[in-house]
Structures are given as structure tokens and as C-alpha cells.
Symmetry: C2
Subunit: 260 residues, 2 copies
DNA sequence: TGCCGTAAATGGTACGACCATAGCCTGGCA
DNA sequence: TGCCAGGCTATGGTCGTACCATTTACGGCA
């Protein structure tokens, strides 16, 4: 390797040193001069190359780790390794943001409905028939699970999440898939409220099944209609819960200021 | 203040110390025990409270700054202040991700088209008439600018960005507004390619004006039609550029593998 | 009363030392 | 000859001290 000479980095002379180091390393990574899996010089070696104290180097590495660009391993053959960014880091950032910035449930539902409609239209025209059939099968499986007297909400929640992600994948657009992933990871999908309530539970599951069926049969308008119905149910459920139990555990159900 | 006793933090005994500190402070912030604008103890004071070295404290603070939860000021009355998270941090994370994960232009266009349609429909039903008129006026202004022989692309680009954000704001849903912001900040909106080309420039501007006009008059179907046309133009432009000049400067125009 | 200089608090940096860990290498044992 | 154990070494993780740079506040002086 090039462990002897590494002309990648140059000494720091101004400003906050660690920030400058962050910029240099980050630039090297996005330029491709440092590829994922590659190992940076050791902290003591970088200390020498940058002409700065080790603490500064460590703080820069900490920042880059937080950005998701590096991972560090200790021990021999340890060090900072370039990491391929994944969408999870974005979702994490989004989730933290949404924790501090409560979103009205109506806005969340509205957004999800928009994305869902776009995904469905694309999935219908692009996905393979076998994928559509598998989606339908999974939806019927969810329906069957929720028809039981005491369904395991952990399992059904996971299945619902899987259905959403599968549909998003079928749309064949990574951006839509990432948004759906971020929604799922970022705020627990809010659908679990739907499944906790025995009244809505079966309706919602049946609706999922109807939607998947329409998608499998290629009936676009019908599928969009079912999706609309899903969100009608969700809105009803959210409204009844926010009225019925003021001490709800779901944080973002608190401030609903626009239900006329 | 409570600068004498601060029972918020407890000493670290296991694992990576700085990570534990990050978790404790982050928890205190999202719980509201530390409100935006509040000041954390000084590094030396926290060093005492956590029972750890100052370097560890500094690394934890660096991480929290990167997360967007803190900002630090130096000098007397300096220190780490709790910061209100803004969506810019999410956009930043997204932009970095998209730099490492090139997105096919067709996918980007498709996504933007979905969002645009959703925004337009909502804006049309919700926005005040005066906002719609202002949007139309701005669009006509853009059209006039681009009709000149040598338009200032910096100004027109900024105006286009402003138009998009204004429309998103008119939709009255913060999530859609944030997504549009993230798109604009994250990848320069890709529309600038449209305005650089004299052939597409005027068509695109006229189309913006038509769209805004339809919105102002409340003609939904017509507005959606114009939006569709905007993306037809954008697709044509992108295709012609990727064929004509292989050395295009726009990074994500490189890998287009699905134009049949 | 108003201005300026000094003191104090605080983050920023440097250096040195030591510990903990993970891979490796060597030597001894079966 | 083959395998296993123990030590060796590179590397991150932590600690402590000292000093520098900057910003605010306070107090003395004109």
C-alpha cells in the first residue's frame, strides 16, 4: 500500500484545525481518492502529516464518524476505515429532527398519502407480476393474522412495515424507497395505532388486501381508491384516539390544531 | 441559575465514554430537560461531573455539534449552547449521501415530479389568492428575465429556487416544504441545466408562467398538465445534454442506464 | 460620566504518558 | 510435522497538565 508516503493531506494553518481536517478528508472521500474500505493513516501518523496535536485529529475523526463517513476499529490493524454511506444515517438525522419538531398527525398522514399514491402508480406499471402476487399473498397473510382474537402486534407491525417497503421497492425508484424507509425508521409509521384498535384493525387489514389485489390485477383507479380509504381509516382512528385518551403515548398526536 | 448543582449527568463507568456522554446529553435535550438556548456547564465542570478526562468531553461535544444539537462559543460566557434543530441538518446529511450514491437523473426527475404534483394540488386548495397571484407575478418575472439575450443565470436560478419553495410553502404541509428544501439544497435542483440551454430556457420559463397562471385561476387539471410538460422538457434537456457532451459537469448525469 | 485596560472565564491546542485491545508471530509441545 | 499458547506490537482510548486565544465584565482613571 501507500503507507509510506500519502500526499493526500496538507498541514493546517488557519481556522479551527479539526474542521479543516474534516473538510480535507471529506473531500478526499467524495472525490474518490479514498474509497470505501480503505484505511486512513493511524492517528499518530496523521498527527505528523497535518502537523497538529493528536486531540485535534481525534476530534476530526469523531465528526467524520458521526457523519457516517468513517468507522474506527481498535487494536492492531485498527484505525479509521472509509465507510460507504447508507440511507440509515439520513433517516437517523431526520428522526432526531422530528423528535424536536413535532409534526401534526394530519400533515404526516397527508405526506404519506402523497408518497403512497406515487409509489403505487409506479409499482403498478413497473413491477413484475410475481412481485405483485407476492405482495398480495403477504397482505392476505396480514389479514389472516389480524383476524385472530389476540394478534401479536409486534409481528403484524413488522409485516405491515415489510409490505410498505416491498411496495416501495417495486416502484423501482431508489428515492421513493429511501423516503419510505426514512418514514418507517424515523417515526414508527404511525400505522401501529391503527392495528392496536380492534375496530380499525380488521378494516385496515382487509383494505391492504384489497389494495394489493387491485395492484396485482392492474386496476389502477381501484388501487388508488383503496389507498384513499386506508388514509380515511387512519384519520378516523387518529381522531378518535386523540379525543378519547388525552394521555396518549404517541408524541406527535398532541398538537392537532387544524381539524375543523 | 442552577450552576451550582446539576443532577442531569452521572459518571461514566463502561463502554466508550464519549458515546455515553453523547447519549446522556442527547436524552436530556430531547426530553426537554435542556431547552434550546440553554448553556451546558463548561468543559472543565463537565469533566468533574462525569468523572472523565477533558478530551472525552470535547469529543462528545464535537459529536453533538455535528448532530446539530449544540453550538459552541469561545471566550467568557462561551461554552456549549443547546441549539434548535433545523431541517438544514437533514438536508446536509442527505446531500452528503447523494454525493456518494449517484442517482440516475430519471429517478430524480420522477421523484421531483411526484412531489411537485402533490404540492400543487394542496397549494391550489389551500393557498390564499394573493399568494397565488404573487407566485404568478414571480413566474412572469422569471420569464421576462430569461427572454433577455444574456440572462444572469445566478439570478434566474435563485428565482426558480424561490418559486419552488414558495409553492411548497403554499401547500401548507411542513413535510413537503422540507422535502423541497432538501431537494434544492441537496442537489442544486438540476433545473439549472434547463436554464443554461437557450433552446429550453424560454420554453421552461413560459411553462412556469403558465403553471402559476393555472394555479392562480384554480384550474387544477391544466396546472398538472403544465407540470407534466415541465418534466417532459427537463427529460428532453437531460437526454440531449448527456448525449451531446459526455464531459458534462453535473455528476449525477453520468450513469443513465434506463433510457430505453 | 464615559472610556480604556486589565482580569477572569472558557474554548482551542499541544505534548506526554499510560492503558486496553486485537491481530500476529514465534516458540514449545504433542 | 502440525497445532496451540503466550507474548509482542501497532493502534485506538483515556488522562493530566500546561499554555494560548478570545470574549466578556469589571474597575479604575481622566
Amino acid at each position: 500500500m501507500n503507507s509510506t508516503v500519502l500526499p493526500l493531506f496538507s498541514p493546517i494553518t488557519f481556522g479551527r484545525a479539526s474542521e479543516e481536517i474534516v473538510l480535507q478528508v471529506e473531500a478526499a472521500i467524495v472525490d474518490g481518492r479514498l474509497a470505501p474500505g480503505e484505511r486512513l493513516p493511524s492517528e499518530r501518523e496523521m498527527q505528523r502529516q497535518f502537523g497538529k496535536g493528536r486531540g485535534v485529529i481525534r476530534e476530526a475523526i469523531k465528526t467524520l464518524v458521526q457523519k457516517g463517513l468513517l468507522e474506527v476499529r481498535k487494536g492492531a490493524k485498527g484505525g479509521a476505515y472509509v465507510r460507504k454511506l447508507d440511507v440509515g444515517k439520513v433517516s437517523e438525522s431526520l428522526a432526531l429532527f422530528l423528535k424536536q419538531e413535532p409534526v401534526a398527525p394530519e400533515h404526516l398522514i397527508e405526506f404519506r398519502e402523497s408518497i403512497d399514491r406515487a409509489i403505487t402508480q409506479l409499482a403498478m406499471t413497473r413491477a413484475a407480476q410475481e412481485d405483485k402476487d407476492e405482495l398480495h399473498a403477504k397482505a392476505r397473510q396480514l389479514e389472516a393474522l389480524l383476524a385472530q382474537d389476540d394478534p401479536d402486534l409486534t409481528v403484524t407491525g413488522e409485516l405491515d412495515r415489510e409490505l410498505n417497503l416491498m411496495l416501495a421497492r417495486m416502484a423501482g425508484n431508489p428515492l421513493l424507497e429511501w423516503v419510505m424507509q426514512a418514514l418507517q425508521m424515523g417515526l414508527g409509521s404511525s400505522d401501529h395505532a391503527l392495528y392496536e384498535d380492534p375496530v380499525f384493525r380488521e378494516k385496515a387489514a382487509a383494505n391492504w388486501s384489497d389494495t394489493a389485489g387491485a395492484i396485482a390485477r392492474g386496476e389502477l383507479m381501484q388501487a388508488l381508491g383503496f389507498i384513499g380509504h386506508h388514509y380515511v381509516l387512519l384519520r378516523q382512528c387518529v381522531r378518535s384516539r386523540s379525543q378519547g385518551s388525552p394521555e396518549t403515548e404517541i408524541p406527535f398526536l398532541a398538537d392537532s390544531s387544524e381539524t375543523p
